[in-house]
Structure formats: C-alpha cells, structure tokens
Amino acid sequence: MKALRWYGKGDIRCEQVPDPGIEDPRDAIIKVTSCAICGSDLHLYNHFMPGMQKGDILGHETMGEVVEVGSAVRNLKVGDRVVIPFTIICGECDQCRRGNYSVCERSNRNAHLAAKAFGHTTAGLFGYTHLTGGYAGGQAEYLRVPYADATHVKVPDGIPDEKLLFLSDIFPTGWQAAVQCDIEPTDTVAIWGAGPVGQMAIRSALLLGARQVVAIDRIPERLSMARAGGAIAINFEEESVIERLNELTAGRGPEKCIDAVGMEAHVSMAHPDTILDRAKQAVMLETDRPHVLREMIYVCRPAGVLSVPGVYGGLLDKIPFGAVMNKGLTIRTGQTHVNRWTDDLLRRIQEGQIDPSFVITHTAGLEDGPQMYETFRDKKDGCVKVVLKPQ
C-alpha cells in the first residue's frame, strides 16, 4: 500500500510499504477513505518532537471502512464505517474507566519510554513518535487499529466523510478545550491560534454560550474564518494582544484562555521572548517556545482558567509561575479524551448544529501529501486544513 513516511526534518515521502495485518485478536484493519494533516504533525515535520524513526508512517486523523477484524472484536464487522480517534484506548484500565482515555495505561506499547520522559506512561497514539507506542499512522491506504473494539467510533452511512473525519481529533480537541473552561454566559473566552483546533474551539465556545469569543492569530484568512464563526479577531502583528483584550473586558482580562498554539509559537520581532526561545531551542536549553502560555498567564483574569490543548513536548523556560499562583489560575491540559465526546458530537453533527467540514481548504490525493505538508506548514494558498484521499 501507499503511505506517507517520515524521514527527517522537512522530509516526508509517499512510498510503497507492506499492507498491515491483524497482529492481535483485538485488532481491526481499516481501508482509509479520508485522512487529514494535523497541526501537531507539523511538530514532527519540523522535527521538534523527539522519538521519530526514519520510515515511520504518519497520520492520526483517519476514517474508513473495516476490512478485517481480529477474533476478539465483537462490536465491529467488515464493512462498518468508522472514525479512528488519534488516541488508542484499551477501555478497561483504571484511567479508561474514569474516561481519561488519553492517558490509557495499557495502549502504549513503549510505556517504559514514555514513563522515562514523563514519569508515567500516557496512551498510545497513531503515527506520533515511539514515545507513544510507535504505531503506524493513518496517512496510508490501510491502517491497523489496535484495541479496535474500544478505540473506534462507529458512524452512520449517508453523511459525507468530510463532516465526520474531524471526530478523530480536531473537533473533540477544540470542544474539550472549551468544555474544560466550563463556560458561563458572562465569559470572554480568548483563543490563541486560529488554526484548525482554534477554529473548532471558537465554535465550541460559542455553542456553549460564551458572551464573547476572541481569536488571536496573524494569518488574515484564518482570522476571516474565525470571524465567520463569531469571534472577534486580533491580528497580533498589527495590534497589542494584551491591550486589546483588556479593552474588550473593561480591564479585567478574559475569564477563560485557550492555547491552541503549543510549542511552536510564531517567532517575531514584536515578541523578543520568542526570539530568545527559538535561540535556546537551537542550543537545546529548552525544547518548546511557550510565548502563548506566558501571555495567557499575564492577561488572564485572576481566578481564571487556562485551557491548553496545544501540544508541548518537554521543557519550557521563564514561565511566570508567580503570576499563576498569585492570581489563583486553574490550568487544564491534556491530549483529548476523544471517545468521551464523540457520541455527543456525532449527534450535534447529525442534528446540524455544526458542520466541521467548514475548515477544509485543500483536498488532495495521498501521493500529493508531501507537497501538502509544505503548503500547510507555510500557510500558502490560504491553507487551513488538508484532507487526503488515499483511494
């Protein structure tokens, strides 16, 4: 089959690899009908995440049709249409039983590596480094799904892929980012990053009833999409984020702040801390660029909430923890507990409350994947979200 494989910084190739097969009774094999490139794939593309090996198959936003099931999988059959969440879950461990799926204790087959890096293991993820299990990803014609009986999300026929695909990651991720803000009707929710997750978070915050949603980015087309979803847009290259947020909240600051940017904040002259972060990254004094976190901590209303769906990898410098403590901020983070939200979100899609396909700006064949990675990274051509069609 064809698959997109990682070979190093900026080097992704579409190559022929052996088809996956059933390795465990709880596996299923799906034929991928649609998959997407995610912002967190760019951290791999730019090689800021450790733990990749040459030839690894990328991709963690995938859906398709079941073509083979292991002997222990009773709730799936050949021909079923499924969305595959990016987190692999066993459904049985202590964390899974609490609904903390993204920290499933059993699905990471390299748990010892993750435990060494983080103190304890987190869930196995598709196509996302050997720290999270080194599982082959879904930017391919076929995907092996471990623990398929627990991991899959069954979806009905008759709804196009485009509306359902993002149940695999960005829609529940944006949703959880807003949910963990526990939005009140008086709230201002400020969202840094109007990429795909930011766009989903904007709409989620609005649907959950925020009084004001503010989106912060620098790319005009993303900001126009943010406005379409009901957000007030701030272009941080044109105006001061902190001043504008204070203006919008009568000097109090937003109650809820969402970091949909993560470790690779834009490096700009206007924010000298990003320059220093980038330099420290180069000489390995820190791994991530936490400009957004700093700004959120500074501007957030005392007793407010910081919600962090953005991906961070390791060590950050100069986090003003004094402000976190003295302002009494609550920080909620985490990879998304995808399966916790999908039933509800699928219903909202079916009822027409939201159509997540609005975010797709580019559709291409799998063989155009390497080119699309570049287009997405450089935000060329108005690119916000890419969907790839393997067939």
Binding site: E184, L206, A228, R332, H362, A364, D381, G382
Partner: protein
C-alpha cells in the same frame, strides 16, 4: 467547498539569506579566533580582566558555531545558536556596564556592536526558517465559512444543554450563575 491543488513551488530560503548565513559563519570564526587568542588584551581593553577565561570560552563557542554554520547543510539552527550566544554576550556586557572597574564607555561600544550583530542574526535566522511572510500573499477570504447553520449570534448557547463533567468544572469563584445557594456563604454579586 474543497478544491484540488497541485502546485510545485519550493520553499527554499532566499539566496541572500544563505549568503548572509555564510558571512555570519566566517564572522563567527574570525571573532572566535580573536577572542580565543586575544582574550587577554580584549579583557584589558574592556577593563574586564577577571573575565579573561570567560572571553576565551566565548571564543570557543563562536568557532564551534562558525564551523556549524559553514559545514552543515541546514545552517538555520546554528544561526539561532548565534542568537543564543548574542544573548549571553549581551548579558555579560550589561553586567560589565554596571561594574565600576570596567571601562564602561568601551563596554558600551561593544554592547552596541553585539546588538547590531543580534539584529542581523535574527533577521538571517528568520529568513532561513521560512518565517518571513511570503511577498506575494494572496489573502483568501473565508468569511463564508462559519460551519454553523445560522448566524453566530443566533447559535450562541445552542449547546448549553451539554453538562460539563465534574472533573472539568470551573472554580466557584468564576461562577456567577447556578451557584448552589448556601446560607453561610456571601451571595455572588451578579
């Protein structure tokens, strides 16, 4: 709504950035050699005699960076490394600016020179990393992409039926509504 795309443009850094990077590489080597070999006289000139071995160490750093820039296929991380070195230099020099024993006028000259180099380094690193905004950006208007069936104003709160799970609730201090009424607690001011 989605359209197919096949473009074959390549995001190579501009040739001028690569030339600048090479220049900075040679500059690093030269400055590093000067610091390594002339550490004593440099320290004396600045009135920073105590820092002679530090200057020598900075010289080693500059040489390593210079080699990295000139020898590696992708000089960008090394240019960023120069920026980190600049920060270190500036920190050391700003310490000396406050040192009564240093020749502060000369330190100020050195500080200005490093500042100039820093600006150049950052510009070069940005250009190499493809961070510069593309010159001919065609802004695309997505104001028709709400993803919502009705205007946002009408959709606000449409999902208010959703019950936030217990482990994701906000602190009471942020909840003007729905607060459980208890006698002993002051009522929320909303």
């Amino acid at each position: 709504m989605a359209h197919r795309h096949r473009t074959r443009s390549h995001a190579r850094p501009p040739a001028s950035a690569e030339a600048l990077a090479r220049g900075l590489g040679w500059f690093s080597l030269a400055l590093g050699a000067a610091e390594l070999l002339g550490a004593r006289s440099m320290a004396r000139w600045l009135g920073m005699e105590r820092h002679e071995s530090l200057i020598r160490a900075y010289g080693v750093r500059e040489i390593a960076t210079g080699i990295g820039i000139l020898a590696q296929k992708d000089p960008a991380p090394w240019i960023w490394g120069r920026v980190a070195g600049d920060a270190l230099d500036l920190a050391t020099l700003s310490g000396a600016l406050r040192d009564p024993k240093a020749h502060r006028d000369r330190v100020a000259v050195a500080f200005g020179a490093v500042m100039g180099a820093t600006v150049l380094d950052v510009a070069c690193a940005n250009a190499l990393s493809g961070q510069e905004p593309p010159r001919h950006r065609r802004a695309v208007d997505y104001s028709d992409r709400s993803g919502l069936p009705r205007p946002p104003g009408q959709m606000r709160g449409a999902a208010r039926d959703f019950e936030v799970p217990r482990d994701m609730r906000i602190p009471d201090a942020l909840r003007p509504y729905r607060q459980p009424r208890r006698q002993e607690r002051p009522q929320p001011s909303m």
